[in-house]
Subunit: 161 residues, 2 copies
């Protein structure tokens, strides 16, 4: 048995329980560099139990739709931000927690030139680019200790347009 | 009077005194997500005197070459990373310190799908994309206090191909 989940455009209201959308705001916070640059300030809640923030790169294989969601994961010790080093939308899958396992998931497609930040310990799908190359900068916790919990579904979900 | 500076391809050896190149390495540190993603781990030296790391977006006007370099700046309280949310190369200008002012600058062009991190208190030019839109994620210090020093040249430099 497979339940279908329809992809929604990403918007701040529906994504707020899960994380931050890292995108230009309607108005910049500050104009710098003699008018040549707009700063949209501090757009993500970085939260680490210990260790410190670091920047890594992820190089992920692009997926096609419909996408079979078999597993979700969460990171109890820190938030995790994904910043595409390209102009393509990508797929973002999140779920509330239901007594230690993911509640029915939601799927979003990002807008170009924007990233997202998963809040600490939020269930999410693995990185799922929809175009090549799937290269992203990732801002997450650099530190020792187990920081990955996985949940495998008995019945997979099918993510569709 | 104007001195010319020729743009070099960015490479780790020549950039090392100034910062980090945030790019895929020849080999990943870890393969995750059942073989579907390569993690290139912890590529930038984030260093903040106080406050904490945050993610902002900069939306900068693209420049054309030759580019007139009239000013450089540095941030005494923290490193600053630039991650292009697009696939275009951008111009990176840095200088060693010479008794409180920039030594003759060096100019580099990044490779696509990569970013850079300026180490704390390194002289650098302002963000100079070479294509539109000039949208970058910036990982820098979020905190109070003056964190900007500017130096205006008596004679501008001309940055050329």
């Amino acid at each position: 048995m497979s339940a279908n989940i329809k992809i929604q455009p990403l918007n701040a209201d529906s994504f707020a329980p899960f994380g931050d959308i890292i995108a230009l705001k309607s108005a910049a916070d500050k104009i710098i560099n003699e008018g040549m640059c707009a700063r949209h300030h501090n757009l993500a809640q970085l939260n680490f139990a210990d260790g410190q923030a670091g920047i890594s790169l992820f190089d992920a294989t692009p997926r096609t739709l419909p996408y079979a969601l078999t597993m979700m994961e969460r990171h109890p010790l820190g938030s995790q931000a994904f910043l595409p080093l390209h102009e393509h939308s990508f797929l973002v899958i999140v779920a509330a927690d239901d007594n230690g396992k993911p509640a029915p998931p939601k799927a979003f497609r990002t807008a170009p030139h924007s990233g997202i930040n998963f809040h600490r310990n939020i269930w999410h799908g693995v990185l799922t680019p929809l175009a090549a190359p799937g290269i992203f900068a990732v801002v997450d916790r650099i530190g020792a200790g187990a920081n990955l919990e996985e949940y495998w579904f008995d019945n997979e979900y099918t993510i569709t347009e």
